[in-house]
């Protein structure tokens, strides 16, 4: 008999060992290796008699949202059990620690088995292995792709490469997110990036369609992809006060105004890249600072409009030329990839910081930029109204968003 318990090593006879394994399967097994660690944990708590095996499989897959979150957050089984015990679920249901442990193990196993499917969420809907109601599927996906703002803030604009992945433990330590969770989030970013990179059409829609995410999460991922693609500098000390949501908003503005897809949905090119022609045209705006007459004219128009409407009028008047130079120079330099990366740091250094040191209020900022933008239209020798608007609409909203403590 080919006895499983005492027979000769079977792999000798296993022809299929030469069959190339599915790539997925390799990943799958890797993730499962962690499961073993969990099982030893089980043994520790059961000294007297070892539970050799313990499984519970429902026809409809049972998933506890609380445990799912703990799993996503990278808790070990034992830690998860502790958290659950503190949560009071035991008293509520007259359960013992053993029961809780067994349940947590089961759920963790289920999640691990599901993880492979979550990597391509569209598979989750037509796979046959787990019977999961559609609303639960949506919940699983949404939570799996959710991320910690603190973590993503650290990774934002970095290259999604192996190198960055190696630094995850540092990031984890800094942000208080477990390494396991960091890895999941990082891999999610990378996975989305890889898929979307090659696709044509609107970025947010592509992400939502391929990963079945909500609108909000889709936009966030679009921002992450966009930042990773352009490698925007976000890590400098001066930018530390900005949150991920600030950046995500700005990314949304850039995507919807400055990319090729922003003007023409039908074009072949993708949403991920900035419109090169537009960037070239931005050089034309230099006339606003190089032409002395134009600069003075612009200043007087703005000052006339602002006079008496704000306490910071004097500072505005005094700084007008500096500020205007700053903004126009940013525009003119955007053809350089290097300068694109520094877009946010430039905005802060050249515009936001001077204003902040002059104690402008948010309302002042709003007032100033509105008039600064509008006045340019009145300049009769200034011919680049369209480019100016396309530039300023983004700059305005970005600065509004970024102008806080």
């Amino acid at each position: 008999m080919r006895d499983i318990c005492s027979g000769s090593t079977q792999s000798d006879r296993e022809h299929s060992s030469t069959v190339p394994e599915a790539v997925e399967q390799a990943e799958w097994q890797q993730s499962n290796a962690e499961c073993l660690v969990l099982e030893t944990g089980w043994d520790n708590t059961q000294n007297k008699m070892a539970v050799e095996l313990d499984v519970f499989v429902g026809n409809t897959t049972i998933m506890d949202e609380e445990v799912y979150q703990l799993w996503l957050d990278g808790y070990t089984v034992n830690d998860a059990v502790k958290v659950r015990m503190e949560g009071g679920v035991m008293e509520e249901c007259e359960a013992s620690a053993d029961v809780l442990l067994s349940d947590t193990m089961d759920q963790y196993r289920t999640f691990q088995m599901c993880e492979r499917l979550l990597h391509s969420p569209s598979k989750l809907a037509n796979q046959l292995l787990f019977q999961i109601p559609p609303n639960r599927q949506a919940m699983l996906i949404e939570r799996y792709y959710a991320f910690d703002d603190a973590f993503v803030r650290e990774v934002l604009g970095k290259k999604l490469s192996k190198g960055t992945k190696k630094d995850l433990d540092d990031i984890g330590a800094k942000t208080g997110v477990t390494l396991k969770s960091c890895r999941r989030q990082f891999d999610n970013f990378k996975r989305v990036f890889k898929v979307v990179e090659e696709l044509k059409g609107p970025l947010v829609e592509n992400i939502r369609h391929h990963f079945l995410l909500s609108d909000k999460l889709g936009r966030d991922y679009a921002a992450i992809v966009f930042f990773a693609n352009h490698r925007f500098e976000t890590g400098k000390r001066k930018l530390q006060y900005l949150t991920f949501q600030d950046f995500a908003f700005c990314a949304g503005q850039l995507i919807s105004n400055w990319t090729v897809g922003a003007v023409d949905n039908m074009v072949e090119d993708m949403d991920v890249d900035l419109d090169k022609e537009f960037l070239q045209e931005l050089k034309e705006l230099k006339v606003l600072i190089t032409d002395k007459d134009l600069l003075d004219q612009h200043k007087s128009l703005v000052c006339t409009a602002l006079r008496g409407k704000t306490k910071a009028f004097n500072e505005m008047e005094a700084n007008f030329k500096n500020l205007s130079r700053g903004l126009v120079n940013i525009a003119a330099k955007l053809t350089n990839t290097k300068d694109v990366r520094d877009f946010f740091i430039d905005l802060v250094e050249k515009f936001i910081e001077p204003c902040r040191s002059d104690r402008w209020t948010a309302a002042d900022m709003r007032l100033y930029l509105t008039h600064y933008n509008n006045s340019a239209h009145i300049l009769d020798t200034f011919k680049h109204q369209a480019v100016w608007d396309r530039y300023m609409v983004v700059i305005k909203s970005c600065i509004f968003k970024m102008y806080h403590d």
């Binding site: 008999m1 080919r2 006895d3 499983i4 318990c5 090593t9 079977q10 006879r13 296993e14 022809h15 299929s16 069959v19 190339p20 394994e21 599915a22 790539v23 997925e24 399967q25 097994q29 499962n32 290796a33 499961c35 073993l36 099982e39 007297k48 008699m49 070892a50 539970v51 050799e52 095996l53 313990d54 499984v55 519970f56 499989v57 429902g58 026809n59 897959t61 049972i62 509520e92 249901c93 007259e94 359960a95 013992s96 029961v99 067994s102 349940d103 089961d106 196993r109 289920t110 691990q112 088995m113 569209s122 598979k123 809907a125 037509n126 796979q127 046959l128 292995l129 787990f130 019977q131």
Partner: protein, 1094 residues
């Protein structure tokens, strides 16, 4: 060519990457049926190939159609080396052979590999064109419907219940063939899967033939099991109840006789003639004249130990390997059972009973695998009858042939039959059989409930009369009638405590009733029921051969006794008086025996209230001891009081008798019949009554007794909001809502301490079961209020220090508010509303003389002699009758009991005989399919009749075939015969699947737990996929028959075998609101359910 099978391979999806270089796969498909193979083109470089093949056509015998599975293999094309297999799909095409079931199989099937599990999915389309075959010698039985459901399936009406059918086929296990040494595990597993699939098909076909022979058209309560005997072979066996079922159509008048199956028509004529005078003598003549040959032994008063009247008979020349007790199934004797006898009304009751009795005795085994019956079918229930027998597998004379096993089961069935007779019953309902194998030792078990069935249902062609004289025949109301004792009060089979029925006050009832069936829906119940389990471990010495068998058979009676005692005590502790769905499993391991008895306790209103439990200390005077006893007594009393409240047991105590003695006369009524089938007429009986001890007390005189009492009290009550039972539905809950969660859970414990005592083991085992239940309650807490139904525990000892418990059950939600209102007048409502469909449930007793033919009695004697060697096999049988009247005071101290044990053991010396027959090592495979030339008559019309699916459906199927976006059909699964809140409109066929999974990378798959978790999920997925492909959306009567796990963590290996079965159905939501939800759930939907039938 009686059939044309057409297969189309449409597409694949989610295939694994087979070529690392390209990260893609060049897939093609081989379609194999019998010996014919077709191939699709290679669809290069895709993980989602679209083959869209032509129709592959197989022209085959319907015999093959029944036996063979369709085999679809997906491979990766490789130009330079051998093609790599991705995986396989086995499709059972049986459902297509029955016109009333599915018409096409179409859908996504998981591609399954025994090493890698599910690897992608394939879309397949299968159709069958079947031609009518009028050859009466045919070997196929296409068209016979099979149901796992152990009641008359909804949307059918039983025109006739013919009775017990059984069959058994044997083959060599491919794992033990010499070739297994050189082939890969994958090849070996696949050979095994294919063989079992083939054997199941053959078995089903043979059972179908028997059914056709009996004039039936369906098998209900079909229970198929396989025994992996190891060296001696692989056995697939099945039992069931043959019926003639009529599909209920919306307009059909239920009282018409036109539903009769054609084959039974002559029989009904036969019964009309004696009905003219309807006198007993005539009946008797009939009996002798026509029933003689097939079952000459029936007439003899057999004791349980008399040599079983083998009647193996090979009716057709062909079946060399089939089991053949089927002759016994043919005695459709011409005893018309007097259609008009009923007219003579009341006084004839006894006559009728005799009639029925004799009528049932016509059959070799008056057994019914059904557990639920139409109202009024069960007249009286006697009690549980069970029989066990220990056999040595290495002593089988001719392991390839089924005769030996047939003889074994035959013996056991005879035992059961005689025990039923001892209880004054002529039939056995809720009958089931099982085995437990460890190395070469095999325990065969059978159990059922002895019962008297309504003679009204025994007659044929006289249904209207039967209904009209209802009130004469049935003086006892249906809500308590089945509790009335079937045996003669003056001549009781065992001493029992009888009282007048607390419901009708007219007839005697026992004080306790044990049964294996579901609670009859019309029964009057007080409060709610609950799951009651008795658990037991017994160590035994490791031994070989006969010594081992002896040791085991010596242990068995003690185990049965103790399980029984535990059940009684726990029943009392819950203040209940009846057990339903009793299932006792005894599992054998190398160094221990495990016993697990599960049942649902109920308080039957008709039975007397159980008394309390009293504790007594042996040594009086010791003050601390006295105090201790008092505390325990208080705890017990508190528990009883608490349970009464919990289960809402507050019977109306209206009578003086009840209050009279809280501690009734404690005479003892349980006894063991112990017998050796070889020794001729000796019947040793064990009286389980504990001597003359008249106090019904638990005596505490040593630590063991204390332990016992403690273990009594350790059963944790179910958390609030939960109920549990092992029957179909919970007595006392009538308002199910639609929430359903079926689950399977498996736990294996390793006993680390080698020097464990029985007590210690018991504790561990009990904790294991209790913890499992606790886990379920916790996991399912979101469903509260809910009830775990059909909790089915299976225990096994897979290795020396392992205990495995597998549970399959369903959690169902219910409406709490409605559940609490006490359905006081429920029985009467039921009785009033019962439709005539339910009443028409005659059993076939009239034989058409034409079929009581063929078997000359000489042949029988011939076979007896042929089987004598088998009878000499080393064996030892133990049979136990659980009487209905087991007393309230089985609670004796274990010390006292052990005295009884000793004397018992002395009396029952085991009788073993050595068999020096050499075990054969080389065997031929025994699945033989001999072909006969068959005359084929088919006409154009028949072709048209069988033409596959209506155009509409195929179109719709094509439309969802698009790869993305076709949502997976939700398939509900339940071990019950119904889904609450829905009605079944169509049965699509039986699901019977067997899978093997093996791994050589156990660690990487998450250890044994990860491995089994994945496998069970995969099995569920494959069951669902098959059901969905048949066009169904649910599986009812689902069960996991086998879950055999072998592991070797050191080698990083594991292997698991799983066998599941169930009925694929289409069910629709119950749109028309039923006024009484309980009706909907208990199966009264038949009539209404037909409206939507397609």
């Amino acid at each position: 060519m009686p059939g044309k099978l057409k297969v189309k391979i449409v597409a694949g999806r989610h295939l694994p990457v087979m070529d690392r270089a390209s990260d893609l796969t060049d897939a093609f498909v081989e379609v194999k049926f019998g010996n014919t193979t077709f191939k699709t083109d290679v669809f290069p470089k895709s993980l989602n190939p679209q083959w869209n093949s032509e129709w592959f056509k197989f022209e085959v015998d319907d015999e093959d159609l029944q036996d063979e599975p369709l085999q679809v293999t997906v491979l990766d094309h490789d130009t330079y080396s051998a093609n790599d297999a991705i995986g396989k799909v086995y499709i059972d095409i049986d459902p297509l052979l029955c016109s009333e079931a599915a018409s096409v199989i179409s859908g996504w099937f998981p591609i399954y590999d025994t090493i890698h599990g599910i690897r992608g999915e394939i879309n397949v389309l299968v159709k069958v064109e079947l031609f009518n075959d009028l050859n009466r010698f045919r070997q196929s039985s296409c068209g016979v419907k099979f149901f796992c459901t152990t009641s008359i399936p909804r949307c059918y009406r039983a025109a006739m219940v013919h009775g017990f059918v059984e069959e058994l086929v044997v083959n060599e296990d491919p794992e033990y063939q010499w070739i297994d040494r050189i082939r890969s595990p994958r090849a070996s597993n696949e050979a095994r899967q294919r063989l079992i699939s083939l054997m199941s098909g053959e078995l089903q076909r043979k059972i179908g033939l028997k059914v056709l022979e009996m004039g039936g058209n369906a098998v209900v309560g079909y229970l198929q099991c396989f025994d992996l005997e190891g060296e001696s072979g692989l056995v697939v066996r099945a039992i069931g109840t043959a019926c003639t079922l009529d599909k209920l159509s919306s307009g059909s008048a239920p009282n018409s006789n036109t539903h009769m199956h054609p084959n039974t028509a002559p029989a009904s004529n036969a019964c009309n003639s004696p009905s003219k005078d309807g006198k007993e003598p005539v009946f008797g003549e009939d009996l002798t004249s026509s029933s003689g040959p097939p079952t000459p032994f029936r007439a003899l008063p057999t004791t349980s130990s008399s040599p079983p009247p083998f009647s193996p008979s090979k009716p057709c020349s062909r079946q060399s390997s089939s089991s053949d007790t089927d002759l016994s199934l043919t005695p459709k004797t011409g005893m018309g059972s007097g259609g008009s006898v009923g007219k003579e009304a009341g006084p004839l009751k006894t006559l009728l009973r005799q009639q029925t009795q004799t009528a049932l005795e016509q059959r070799e085994f008056p057994f019914f695998t059904l557990t639920s019956f139409p109202p009024g079918f069960l007249l009286h229930v006697g009690g549980v009858v069970s029989a066990r027998s220990v056999k040595l597998l290495d002593r089988i004379h001719n392991p390839d042939e089924p005769e030996t096993r047939d003889a074994w089961w035959e013996e056991i069935r005879q035992e059961i039959k005689s025990h039923a007779k001892a209880l004054g019953c002529h039939g056995v309902v809720g009958y089931s059989e099982s085995t437990s194998i460890c190395e070469e030792v095999c325990i065969l078990s059978a159990s059922g409930t002895a019962a008297i069935l309504n003679p009204r249902y025994m007659r044929e062609g006289c249904l209207d009369i039967g209904i009209s004289d209802h009130r004469f025949e049935e003086p006892s109301p249906p809500s308590c009638g089945f509790c009335h004792i079937p045996y003669d009060e003056l001549n009781m089979p065992f001493p029992a405590q009888l009282t007048y029925c607390y419901h009708c006050r007219r007839q005697k009832v026992p004080d306790v009733l044990f049964t294996t069936i579901n609670l009859p829906q019309e029964a009057a119940v007080t409060g709610k029921g609950c799951l009651i389990q008795a658990r037991l471990c017994r160590l035994k010495k490791k031994a070989q051969g006969e010594v081992n068998a002896t040791a085991i058979s010596n242990l068995l009676p003690f185990m049965e006794y103790e399980l029984h005692t535990q059940l009684m005590n726990k029943l009392k502790l819950r203040s209940m008086n009846a057990l339903f769905g009793l299932h006792i499993q005894i599992s054998v391991g190398e160094n221990m025996l495990l016993g697990l008895a599960s049942a649902t306790g109920v308080y039957l209103t008709a039975l007397p209230a159980p008394g309390g439990i009293q504790i007594a200390g042996k040594t009086t005077g010791d003050l601390s001891n006295e105090h201790h006893i008092l505390t325990i007594q208080k705890r017990i009393n508190d528990t009883i009081a608490k349970n009464k409240e919990l289960y809402q047991i507050n019977p109306a105590e209206l009578t003086e008798e009840v209050v009279g003695s809280p501690i009734p006369e404690p005479r003892q009524r349980s006894r063991l019949f112990r017998s050796h089938s070889e020794s001729s007429d000796e019947l040793s009986e064990l009286d389980l009554s504990h001597g003359k001890k008249d106090a019904f007390v638990l005596e505490i005189d040593d630590t063991d007794a204390v332990e016992d009492i403690h273990s009594l009290l350790t059963d944790a009550p179910t958390p609030t909001g939960f109920y549990s039972c092992n029957t179909e539905i919970m007595p006392g809950i009538y308002s199910w809502t639609s929430g359903v969660q079926m689950f399977t859970s498996v736990r294996v414990f390793r006993l680390s301490n080698a020097s464990l005592t029985n007590q210690g083991l018991n504790k561990i085992f009990t904790d294991l079961c209790e913890n499992l239940l606790k886990s379920f309650y916790f996991k399912l807490r979101s469903m509260i209020p809910c009830c775990l139904c059909q909790l089915n525990f299976t225990v096994a000892v897979p290795e020396e220090e392992l205990i495995q418990v597998a549970v399959t059950a369903v959690a169902m939600t219910f409406d709490k508010d409605q559940a609490q209102e006490k359905p006081a007048d429920k029985p009467t409502t039921k009785g009033g509303s019962e439709t005539e469909e339910q009443l028409q449930f005659p059993m076939e007793l009239c034989a058409d003389a034409s079929s009581a033919n063929t078997q000359p009695s000489s042949k029988i004697s011939g076979t007896v002699s042929l089987l004598t060697p088998a009878a000499k096999l080393c064996q030892n049988q133990l049979v136990m009758v659980l009487s209905p009247g087991v007393p309230e005071n089985t609670n004796v101290s274990s010390r006292a009991a052990s005295v009884d044990y000793g004397s018992f053991a002395d009396r029952c010396s085991t009788w073993l005989e050595l068999l020096r027959l050499k075990a054969h090592t080389i065997r031929r495979g025994s699945v033989k399919t001999s072909r006969r030339t068959q005359s084929l008559i088919h006409s154009v019309s028949s072709l048209e009749h069988c033409s596959p699916l209506p155009e509409g459906r195929s179109r719709s199927l094509r439309s969802n075939r698009s790869f993305r976006g076709s949502p997976v059909t939700v398939v509900k699964m339940t071990p019950l015969s119904f889904l609450p809140g829905t009605r079944i409109i169509k049965y699509l066929g039986i699901i019977n699947m067997f899978f093997i999974r093996e791994t050589t990378s156990l660690r990487e798959e998450g250890g044994v737990s990860g491995f089994l978790h994945t496998f069970i999920a995969e099995v569920f997925a494959m069951v669902r996929a098959h059901v969905a492909a048949l066009g169904g959306n649910a599986v009812v009567s689902y069960s996991m028959k086998e879950c055999m796990l072998m592991e070797n963590p050191n080698k990083n290996q594991a292997q698991c075998l799983i066998n599941v079965s169930g009925d694929a159905v289409i069910c629709v939501r119950e749109t028309d609101q039923e006024p009484n939800p309980s009706m909907a759930n208990i199966g009264q939907t038949c009539a209404s359910g037909t409206d939507g039938a397609t």
